[in-house]
């Protein structure tokens, strides 16, 4: 395929996902509500506390992980439930399908993460020392989550109890990402060690790129089985 054909196919997949989401905003609502409830739960638990940067970064990553795992697998599971997956298998290229869905999921995760981060910072009265590092951390986290969890959604899409299964198999793969995520976020929130934080953000982005590069190959090997 030529680069123009790649762009057209991935673009078509992305447009399809956006239209589906506009028609029925299931992913945004599920991820958003899950994340919002997590923030409220933390507000309840820590109503009289001043969070340290490390604790705040850890809690924020727990919110990202659970809202991402609740929303992202929908993109493949929905195709199976609506009976449109076979149509995709006949007409589309697996790489375009995976990348189209992964880009959409990355955008969905970033929107959710941006809103939840803003809310969390306001309600917990936290200051951001390095806004650039915070953006890099959230961006890398969204990329890493979308690649790994999209693949897990595809793996679980035809199983029984698929939504819960996708979450259960995706979390162990993305928790290691949280190590870098928490390290970069806590520096962004004011803890010392800028170089370590920057290195962690780079690691996060690298993991995101790697999971989005390897994911389609695995998906292509099993999407018609």
């Amino acid at each position: 395929m030529t680069p123009a054909q790649w762009r057209r196919q991935i673009g078509a997949m992305l447009r399809k996902e956006i239209r589906s989401e506009i028609r029925s905003p299931h992913g945004l609502l599920t991820g958003g509500l899950f994340g919002l409830l997590s923030v409220v739960a933390i507000m309840f638990a820590a109503f009289n506390m001043r969070l340290t940067p490390t604790l705040a970064a850890g809690l924020l990553w727990v919110i990202f992980l659970f809202s991402g795992v609740a929303a992202i697998p929908r993109s493949f599971i929905g195709e199976e439930e609506n009976g449109t997956a076979d149509l995709l298998r006949v007409t589309a290229n697996p790489f375009s399908v995976f990348w189209g869905k992964s880009i959409f999921n990355a955008a969905l995760t970033l929107i959710t993460a941006a809103v939840l981060t803003g809310l969390f910072l306001v309600v917990m009265n936290l200051q951001v020392a390095y806004p650039g590092l915070m953006v890099a951390s959230v961006l890398g986290g969204g990329l890493a989550l979308s690649g790994a969890v999209t693949l897990c959604g595809a793996l679980a899409a035809r199983a029984a109890s698929r939504q819960a299964l996708a979450g259960a198999i995706a979390l162990p793969l993305v928790i290691p990402v949280a190590v870098w995520g928490v390290t970069s976020l806590r520096v962004a929130l004011g803890e010392s060690g800028y170089e370590v934080g920057r290195g962690a953000a780079v690691g996060l982005i690298a993991y995101g790129v790697a999971s989005n590069a390897v994911g389609p190959y695995i998906y292509a090997a099993l999407w018609k089985r």
Partner: protein
């Protein structure tokens, strides 16, 4: 001369003879499982899937033994079963990753789909697993915070008779692992053969879908087939 200077009580270092070979063999088996899964996806040969399961089952077993021996040592050396040490937690996560593999495998009943999806997961899991085993413990902020030594062998801190016994246990445990691995593959091949040629249910073959009737061979006291080719069927489960 103290042959194991990093240990507060040298006699406790004997746990190394068991604790150290386990994660080494576990990580080799996890890599082997991913490699066999990759070969399965390329060739669609179910025997490759058998080799992947054998490797990952044994890898999981050695990971559990790593955790168990580490917990016992933690109690003896530091006074509590669980130290919340980053190294302990990261290895627990490796166990969770491979638990995910078996959960995914159990969620599919159909053999080819079960093999394909779990092979995909084994390949996706190898990067985070290797990160947790080899990279994470050596990150500067983790290495400083962990009680667990990371360079005892490489920096020559295990010497004399301890080093000799450790080399012997690693070698013997590796030989034992190869033996058990081959037996597990043989068992898997027999299950596959039974499934393919006789159409019988086997532990590895997954459950038959609800209300599906499978033929069952019924033998009399002399071992002869009692109802050859007849409608002798297991009707249990028919509603």
């Amino acid at each position: 001369m103290n042959e194991v200077p990093t240990f507060q009580q040298p006699e406790l270092a004997r746990i190394l003879f068991w604790h150290l070979p386990c994660p080494i063999i576990a990580s080799v088996l996890l890599g082997l499982g991913a490699y066999q899964s990759w070969l399965y996806l390329r060739t669609e040969d179910l025997r490759r899937d058998l080799k992947a399961i054998a490797a990952l089952e044994l890898g999981m077993l050695f990971s559990i033994m790593t955790m168990a021996s580490g917990i016992v040592f933690s109690r003896a050396q530091w006074g509590s079963w669980w130290q919340n040490d980053p190294r302990q937690t990261s290895f627990l996560l490796v166990l969770m990753i491979y638990a995910g593999y078996f959960v995914l495998r159990g969620a599919y009943a159909e053999r080819v789909r079960k093999a394909s999806m779990s092979a995909g997961y084994a390949l996706a899991a190898i990067l985070p697993a290797m990160f947790l085993i080899y990279v994470f413990p050596r990150l500067p902020n983790i290495e400083g915070a962990s009680l667990h030594p990371t360079q005892s062998i490489m920096s020559g801190q295990i010497r004399g008779s301890y080093a000799q016994v450790l080399t012997a246990t690693i070698t013997l445990t590796s030989i034992l692992t190869v033996w058990v691995y081959r037996i597990r593959i043989r068992v898997g091949e027999l299950e596959l053969q039974a499934h393919e040629s006789l159409g019988l249910e086997t532990p590895g073959g997954g459950a038959a879908p609800h209300r599906v009737v499978r033929p069952v061979r019924v033998l009399d006291a002399g071992g002869n087939q009692a109802a050859k080719g007849s409608g002798s069927t297991d009707t249990a489960g028919q509603g």
